[in-house]
């Protein structure tokens, strides 16, 4: 029987209350949202918090809304909310691609965007999605808020920029014209962690890629944004040759390891191929094609 070690439990009634509790208890405390990553780790003693702060009552963190030039997503938005959101489907179809293959519908009823990003598992899909979309994370403390871009949010496997007196409260995604995005994942069986995943987003103006990004999952100790891929996309004209070249750049700029899900060589091949496919679909979608 797997049960967590003894803990104390308290329910936060507001973001301010949650942060006050977290500040008071320091690194012995963890927030619990959906709990579908944290509780399994606690059962295995891979995580050993002494104090859990339940943030499921924080209604103020359940939202997905357009706010001027950004889409703002509350950190407690559940996978199901992301999958069902018409706003995200319209602007960022990459969320639908990814959410359809994250775990299963029952798990998606509980797991949250904020929990997924804060878990900082290198194989976690939403981190790759947010990386491709050039998202920013709003981190709140009793002093106020700071905004951290995705590429600075993860500081290592299972480690984020969020400090002991802080909380991830919102994810912001810039809204720019001519955008298209897509996600590709290979898994051993439905609902599994990725063997490799690749997300891509492009913003196209007059046939030229103004900006484009690739986000990968399960390719090494961190969720990388592939800067050389972004450099190759910027100012380029979309073509099969370009998708192929950027796929190769992505494959050459990550370090997957051999494990039960596949060999390093197989995963490197997947990075190249999935990046190519994701880019192709992202470009087609930016041109209004249903893909």
């Amino acid at each position: 029987m797997q049960v967590p070690a003894p803990i104390e439990y308290e329910r936060a009634t507001s973001v301010a209350h949650a942060i006050a509790l977290r500040s008071q208890k320091g690194d012995e405390a963890r927030f619990i949202a959906g709990g579908h990553s944290l509780l399994p780790m606690m059962k295995l003693r891979l995580a050993n918090p002494k104090y859990l702060i339940d943030i499921n009552d924080l209604e103020e963190l359940f939202y997905i809304r357009e706010n001027g030039s950004e889409v703002c997503i509350g950190a407690m938005s559940r996978h199901r909310d992301l999958l069902d959101s018409d706003l995200l489907a319209k602007h960022f179809p990459i969320f639908l691609d990814a959410e359809r293959v994250i775990a299963d519908p029952t798990v998606r009823n509980r797991g949250t965007l904020g929990g997924s990003l804060c878990q900082a598992d290198p194989a976690e899909d939403l981190s790759a999605v947010c990386t491709a979309l050039d998202a920013s994370c709003v981190i709140t403390s009793s002093e106020g808020q700071r905004v951290v871009p995705m590429h600075d949010f993860h500081v290592g496997p299972y480690e984020t920029a969020v400090q002991d007196n802080e909380m991830l409260t919102e994810v912001r995604i810039p809204l720019r014209p001519g955008g298209g995005s897509a996600y590709q994942k290979v898994e051993r069986r439905a609902g599994d962690w990725a063997v490799v995943s690749a997300g891509a987003a492009v913003w196209i103006d007059s046939g030229i890629i103004v900006d484009g990004r690739v986000g990968l999952a399960a390719v090494g100790s961190n969720t990388p944004s592939i800067e050389p891929a972004a450099e190759a996309l910027k100012g380029a004209t979309p073509s099969e040759d370009l998708f192929q070249r950027v796929g190769e750049i992505a494959a050459n700029n990550c370090s997957p390891e051999t494990d039960g899900r596949g060999t390093a060589a197989y995963k490197t091949h997947l990075v190249q191929e999935l990046t190519r496919r994701a880019l192709r679909t992202a470009v087609a979608r930016s041109q209004g094609q249903e893909v």
């Binding site: 619990i32 509780l39 859990l52 299963d104 029952t106 798990v107 009823n109």
Partner: protein, 161 residues
């Protein structure tokens, strides 16, 4: 700590350890052993219960987290001696062999029909994709849920579950 919740319509007020998982609370403390305890890793789905009408894997929830909410277990499907159409469907269409996955399958099916009274086979298969039947009797499970959809009565009453 003290936890209060509604289980199958009845108020429950119990003393628990904060680390207590919902599945063990339901089985060992409330004695409702219809909820099965399977893989312990949120993969198999036999421990699914409804929390406020939504299927949740109770091996991956603390009992404390269900405080203040409405929990429905498989024992709550039957009302006043009348089986839920889902239960009838599993009987009519041989929706189980060993029966171990059945409570989770039926509760997930109940939640599905509450939100979508006429699901396609594809939608049914997607809805139960978080559950494993090791007898691999999926076809009959799908047929059982379709039978229930065709024989749904009193949906308004059921929708409260």
């Amino acid at each position: 700590m003290q936890v209060n919740m509604t289980v199958n319509g009845a108020e429950v007020n119990e003393e628990i350890e904060p680390r207590h998982l919902l599945v063990h609370f339901i089985r060992d403390q409330l004695g409702l052993t219809g909820t099965h305890w399977g893989c312990d890793t949120s993969n198999c789905g036999t421990c699914v219960v409804l929390i406020d009408g939504e299927p949740v894997k109770s091996c991956t929830q603390l009992a404390a987290m269900a405080g203040g909410h409405e929990v429905t277990t498989v024992e709550g499907l039957e009302v006043d001696g009348v089986l839920d159409p889902i239960q009838e469907g599993f009987m009519q269409c041989h929706g189980l062999q060993c029966g171990f996955c059945t409570p989770g399958m039926m509760l997930t099916a109940r939640a599905l029909l509450n939100s979508n009274p006429n699901p396609t086979e594809e939608v049914i298969r997607e809805a139960i994709s978080g559950q494993i039947c090791r007898c691999t009797g999926y076809s009959t499970i799908v047929r059982s849920i379709q039978w229930a959809a065709d024989h749904e009565t009193n949906v308004s009453l059921r929708s409260a579950s």
